[in-house]
Assembly symmetry: C2
Homo-oligomer: 174 residues x 2
DNA sequence: TACACTATGTAATATCATAACATGTCAAGG
DNA sequence: CCTTGACATGTTATGATATTACATAGTGTA
């Protein structure tokens, strides 16, 4: 991580994000932890966390919120990496395939996964006011979906489950 | 409907689509029924099913599968309606807002809703082989999602639930 | 008719994503 | 050590999806 750890700041949109969700926490440590876990995981799989890929993962972790591919690209370009879309998309695709990042289709954006390696059917909660994206445990939802699909003879392989609504903070404010 | 009713044809991708899902049925009648229900519903709400809107709904019903906005636009343009994107997007947005159509985010596409007026948290099953989109009953999935979200203090307002996998026919073929 | 309201048409542009190909990097086998 | 093959990155170009802004036209009502 290049960003120093910092305490919870209600003005920071990232402060209600994945895994630690809508509660105070230390960005720096959760990000470094995640990055370390990610590296170990990829080594175990025999694939490489190259500079671009690593930097993209760091960018997502630092932002601690959903970023568009072009947001990521701009930051990469500013640091001397290639400045064409495929540079960002390739790294994001790689991270997504390996479960280190998730795509939020509703936002055309990507977030770092906060618990890489663990099996999880991700469920995303998107606050329509502050745009914060939280990753909720999705086992029960996934099971319900699998069951509804099975009733129709359909076999689920992947699922996109995204809820739009109000996070606790914005609910209070409203 | 401008398309004549026809019996189930395994070669027709629409023949495994919303509501009647993955089983044989009569396209013409399910489409005309749906259109009639839609009209009644809008009259009751005091909004207008104008020519463009009606035609877009018909196009979706005829296609009986997910169509991109530009697919819809091309058909409209061929029939003398405007040929700029807003023409299609406005009609599609209107239909979506009134529950007459749904947006499939994974496909950047739209499908006609087969049971307008009924409250339903739509769940979509997308076959990765034949691209067919089916709408499954989503009450249980929605409830699970609402509950998982509530545990984190998040209030769900809308949800996107889309599963990618294999439909019965393609499962057998594989 | 005049007015307000809604809907449609059109131009221009923004945003998101991929195909195709050239170049560079690196480690394993000769 | 050097070749070779696999993988990764850089770059050009283009395609696909979506929106903003403004002009025009229809609709119902006072």
């Amino acid at each position: 991580m290049t960003e120093a750890p910092h305490a919870h700041d209600p003005a920071c949109p990232g402060c209600a994000a994945p895994d630690l969700a809508f509660s105070a926490h230390d960005h720096g440590s959760c990000a470094t932890d995640t990055l370390a876990r990610a590296e170990a995981l990829l080594v175990a799989r025999g694939v490489r966390l190259t500079p671009v890929r690593k930097r993209v993962l760091e960018i997502l972790l630092e932002a601690h919120q959903a970023l568009g591919a072009y947001d990521v690209l701009n930051r990469l370009a500013a640091e001397g990496f290639g400045n064409q879309p495929p540079v960002a998309y390739r790294a994001l695709d790689f991270l997504t395939e390996h479960g280190l990042a998730h795509r939020i289709r509703r936002l055309n954006a990507f977030v770092a996964c906060m618990h890489p390696g663990e099996v999880h059917a991700p469920v995303f909660l998107i606050c329509r006011v502050c745009k914060t994206v939280a990753e909720a445990p999705g086992a029960a939802v996934g099971a319900a979906l699998g069951s509804a699909a099975a009733d129709m003879g359909f076999a689920v392989e992947r699922a996109t489950i995204e809820a739009l609504g109000l996070c606790p903070a914005c609910k209070v404010a409203a």
